[in-house]
Symmetry: none
Subunit: 185 residues, 2 copies
DNA sequence: ATCATATGTACGTTATAACGCACAAGGCAA
DNA sequence: TTGCCTTGTGCGTTATAACGTACATATGAT
């Protein structure tokens, strides 16, 4: 555990693609010698070259940067129900995982029920995916209507609200915590 | 296709923290001269030093790396369809956002259709939420059945597969590219 | 005003990332 | 076998990341 936690997954990515060092070199604009050194950990690349590599593979940068191990959720804990008191009914689909910084809820609103949410901490992003019914989302003083099968992603650092249509609505609500630095003196 | 510029958000992060270059230097082990150059884009750091900085701030690496354009999704681009070659049909619900390290797809399988997926790069977590029908997920040589309304979260660095029931299946598929740092020196 | 401390930038040196080329090992064909 | 190509790695040079120190300006106190 004392060794470098920062592992680059270039070798894995390249193995998955089945390409040779030379091919990758001409594809990314990075010399194959460099690519080789990066793969065996003899060199720690600059972000500029990492970016070239990612672009060449058409991958997000994060696909090349490996961090510590992942824990995966037990197979069985599916859909444990928790109802928030005095609020809307919420079921936990995917509990919060600090490694992901994400959690997912299943929310049901009865017909015409609405729910206001204050501004969350900066850096929190919400995603809403409507499962059934019609849902309207208040964002920047505008109600945005969503049909079943539609989704919306928005920064949650502003007050926002949810409102169901005449037939109620069910939707998934994902929260992404980007972990921003909030230090006061 | 403009080459997406790579922007480092060190300046923003440091501004948010209210710390001086000197403080950050002694906090991260990176010289303040370097930090200054990185902030004004006069130097493109190696991942090693980026990692030091992230550790000093106790932030995930992704908090420092930003691509130029992407903020929250426009209200309109919902459900653009992209078909993966030689694979199943997939609609993009939430496109990849480097700040979140996450993307969400909408997948439909015809009755009894199956799809095998090779192991992704380590650190990738998948979440599956079944919208309709019955979906079975192959994981560690076991088929796990999921009904509509059920979900499963698992590490995607192993080969895995999807199989629809007699009536087909529709599900959401979220990919999380790990961005966390839970490390010590 | 002068002194003191802290900010961020500029300079000179060292460490190393990145390059191009050359080399050794492993197919594959004739 | 003999070429001939491709694989990945080693070597020497150049470009630049990273360092420590010194500097100019700014803020604050006396």
């Amino acid at each position: 555990m004392e060794s470098d936690e920062l592992t680059l997954k270039l070798r894995d990515v390249r193995a998955a693609s089945g390409l040779s060092l030379s091919k990758v070199a001409e594809l990314t604009g990075v010399s194959k010698a460099m690519l080789g050194q990066i793969e065996r950990g003899e060199s720690s690349p600059t972000i500029a070259t990492l970016w070239k590599i990612a672009k060449g593979f058409q991958l997000p940068l994060s696909a090349l940067i490996g961090t510590a191990a992942m824990r995966d959720t037990a197979d069985t804990d599916v859909f444990s129900t928790v109802t928030f008191p005095g609020s809307i009914e919420v079921k936990i689909v995917f509990p919060f995982d600090p490694a992901l910084g994400a959690e997912t809820f299943h929310v049901e609103l009865s017909p015409n029920q609405s729910h206001e949410s204050p501004a969350h901490a900066a850096g929190v992003t919400e995603e809403v995916f409507v499962l059934s019914g019609v849902l309207e989302i208040l964002r920047a003083d505008k109600w945005i209507p969503l049909q079943a099968g539609q989704g919306l992603r928005f920064a949650a650092d502003l007050p926002h609200g949810y409102r169901a249509g005449d037939q109620g609505a069910a939707f998934l609500n994902m929260h992404h915590y980007s972990q921003s630095a909030e230090n006061l003196e």
